[in-house]
């Protein structure tokens, strides 16, 4: 099965996202600075300096981006990157929407199962379902993998190390 291929976003698009992200950070740092007003002097001293400096830097960055945008500066060629399949940023940029939805769905499913059922059930269950239906491995492989995960967690954490592992939500109350 092949991935849907997309070309990476053009440079102008990257500048627009930088603009949006920087604007958001200006708001975040501004809010952080405002929050320090309610604290005693010693409590607020360091956060005030850090958030103040961060706000100034973000505003300067925002101004720089807007300046370059207004001047419509010529697009600089992207520095050559290793565009071979598998580089993280390349994979993120070129994976299709369906692949993203599937990957995030599986990850979300794991953590929801973890919260509801605890690690001892969620981990082997996820391994079985993901390998069989997500990675299209055989039933035998998926079942054996899940059994190894279950045995490994139980032996290592419950029996030998006796280190707490995430439990089901109803066991926590």
């Amino acid at each position: 099965m092949t991935q849907a291929q997309r070309t990476p976003a053009p440079r102008g698009h990257a500048k627009n996202t930088d603009l949006v992200i920087t604007a958001v950070l200006v708001l975040v740092f501004g809010a952080a600075l405002l929050a320090t007003g309610a604290w005693p002097f010693r409590t607020a001293l360091f956060p005030t300096i850090v958030s103040g400096v961060a706000l100034l830097l973000s505003l300067a960055h925002l101004a720089t981006l807007l300046w370059h945008r207004r001047r419509a500066d010529p697009v600089e060629p992207e520095a050559p990157t290793d565009a071979a399949d598998g580089d993280v940023d390349y994979v993120f940029a070129t994976a299709g929407r369906r692949a993203w939805v599937a990957a995030l769905g599986w990850a979300a499913g794991f953590f929801v199962a973890l919260y509801l059922l605890g690690l001892l059930i969620a981990a082997p269950l996820f391994a079985l379902c993901y390998l069989r239906f997500g990675a299209r491995r055989s039933w035998l492989f998926s079942v054996v993998y899940a059994a190894v995960v279950l045995a490994g967690i139980y032996l290592a954490f419950e029996f030998v190390l006796t280190i707490p592992i995430p439990t089901a939500v109803w066991e926590q109350s």
Binding site: P40, F46, P47, L57, V91, A135, V149, P166
Partner: protein, 499 residues
């Protein structure tokens, strides 16, 4: 001193001591490979087992485990892009890209060799400097420690590449994240949004695991290929090549080891700082700095050499004056007290053989674990040819356990998820992650020393000579890359003009 060295060697070579050391090495191997199960946490778990032991076998167990975790933590950083230890994050930057190019063996060989040299370097420095370090460290006060924290952040910002603004902004964001929680002075909750979970602040382990590991696991789910894209036969024989390259870069190894030992010497700065300072230094002096972040072997060498060196460095203030240089050495300090040792004068005179036994244990454990790691490299490098999706359940499990193990709270898993999402966003939109991480690591330390400086000296601490020297270094470190970039741009323009 020579007699104490030989006497301690004789005690280390006893059967019980060797057995304890081997057990510690085995545990350390496992702990180092598992992301999130840190050396300091495991030290604390093993402490109760040392109650009835003699000092030297007790430290053989504890140190044997502790010194190995740094080495083996680098293995998962290189093979999976998931830091096995919080102090192995810098190795991911160039070790993992090498793995993706089918050069895992080369990266592993270089990491193991430089790590071994770093450990021996640190142990030698420990042996030589214990009697003389005290007056030097006592010259540094809170202003100087604050300056060193800023210097470490500066090096990291330089690592953020061409866009200095982004690096500085992310570092500030990291500092703010570190300030979440109860104010250590007045007990006022800061940036907690009414959540009791946040009163203790945000733990670094779920942050590291999420920021670096989350993106890599997601990438494996999306790419549907193996970690190594080349289908060439296992390149483990290139481990020897990697080791030889590390030895060829002997000056870089020694300098990085010195940085690791020096940073480990300063209480509270920690291993992550040492790795990134050494990494930043290696990038600055490299003839090919553009390769850093894409599989520069020098990056792997520099980052790996510091890890073990800093462990020995952090032992120096711990032994000499009972000031722990790191979380792990803080736990070791407890071990000193449990077995009846008094740090300071006693450990430098009457118990000097115990002190020197730590040197021998560090050297021996490193050599044994390095040999063991080379021996299992073949099956380890075969792991990277397994289809990536097959590793996903395994790695998700590691991420989850790594995050949860820090405080046994599901809140840490949520923090890990949040920073995983942030890490993905940083990669996708080309914002640097490393300054964010180091801002979080250094935030507490920086604020503590900043506040102490202000309390003790008012604002006059800004004019202290050593602090001013560090400030000059910071300015130079920020200015040099800008100057270099402008110079390169002028050269390119003149080339274009001459054509």
């Amino acid at each position: 001193m020579i007699e104490a060295l030989l006497a301690s060697l004789d005690q280390v070579l006893q059967l019980q001591t060797i057995a304890m050391m081997l057990l510690g090495i085995a545990i350390g191997f496992l702990v180092g490979i598992l992301p999130g199960l840190g050396g300091a946490v495991t030290l604390a778990l093993m402490l109760p087992f040392t109650f009835n032991m003699d000092p030297i076998p007790a430290f053989a167990l504890l140190l044997g485990m502790y010194v190995v975790t740094a080495t083996t933590g680098d293995l998962t950083s290189i093979l999976f892009g998931v830091p096995g230890e919080a102090t192995s994050a810098a190795v991911v930057l160039d070790g993992y890209p090498l793995t993706r190019r089918g050069q895992a063996g080369r990266a592993l060989g270089a990491a193991l060799a430089s790590s071994a040299v770093g450990a021996i370097f640190g142990a030698v420095v420990l042996a030589l400097s214990v009697p003389i370090i005290r007056p030097l460290v006592l010259q540094l006060g809170p202003p100087e420690f604050f300056g060193l924290a800023l210097l470490a952040l500066t090096f990291v910002v330089i690592l953020s590449g061409r866009d200095l603004y982004k690096g500085l902004i992310m570092a500030c964001l990291g500092l703010l994240v570190a300030l979440v929680g109860m104010d250590p002075v007045d007990g006022v909750p800061r940036y907690t949004f009414g959540e009791i979970y946040l009163w203790d602040g945000i733990d670094i382990i779920p942050v590291v695991v999420g920021l670096f590991g989350g993106a890599e696991v997601l990438q494996l789910m999306l790419s549907k290929t193996s970690v190594a894209q080349h289908t060439a036969p296992s390149d483990v024989h290139r481990a020897g090549t990697g080791a030889r390259e590390a030895l060829r870069h002997w000056s870089l190894v020694l300098r990085s080891s010195a940085i690791g030992t020096g940073v480990g010497l300063v209480p509270g700065l920690g291993g992550s700082v040492a790795q990134f300072i050494a990494y930043g230094h290696a990038k600055q002096i490299s003839k090919r700095p553009e390769e850093f972040g894409n599989g520069a072997i020098e990056g792997v060498i520099a980052a790996s050499a510091t890890n073990n060196a800093k462990d020995s460095g952090s032992l120096i203030p711990t032994i000499a004056f009972g000031i722990p240089g790191s979380a792990g050495s803080a736990v070791l300090l407890s071990a000193f007290l449990i077995v009846g040792l008094d740090p300071g004068f006693e450990m430098l005179t009457n118990d000097l053989d115990v002190t020197f036994s730590m040197v021998w244990i560090t050297v021996a454990a490193t050599l044994i674990s390095t040999a063991l790691a080379f021996a299992v490299l073949r099956p380890l490098t075969k792991l990277v040819h397994i289809p990536g999706q097959t590793l996903v359940p395994f790695l998700l499990l590691f991420l989850c356990l790594g995050a949860y193990s820090s405080t046994n709270s599901f809140g840490d898993v949520l923090v890990m998820l949040a920073f995983g999402a942030l890490g993905v966003a940083c990669i996708h939109f080309n914002w640097p992650r490393v300054p964010l991480l180091l801002g979080i690591v250094l935030g507490d330390i920086a604020e503590r020393y900043f506040f102490l400086s202000y309390s003790l000296f008012g604002w006059s601490w800004l004019t202290r000579p050593i602090f001013l020297g560090i400030a000059v270094l910071i300015v130079l470190a920020l200015w040099l890359p800008l100057w270099r970039e402008r110079r390169n741009r002028r050269r390119e323009l003149s080339k274009v003009a001459s054509k």
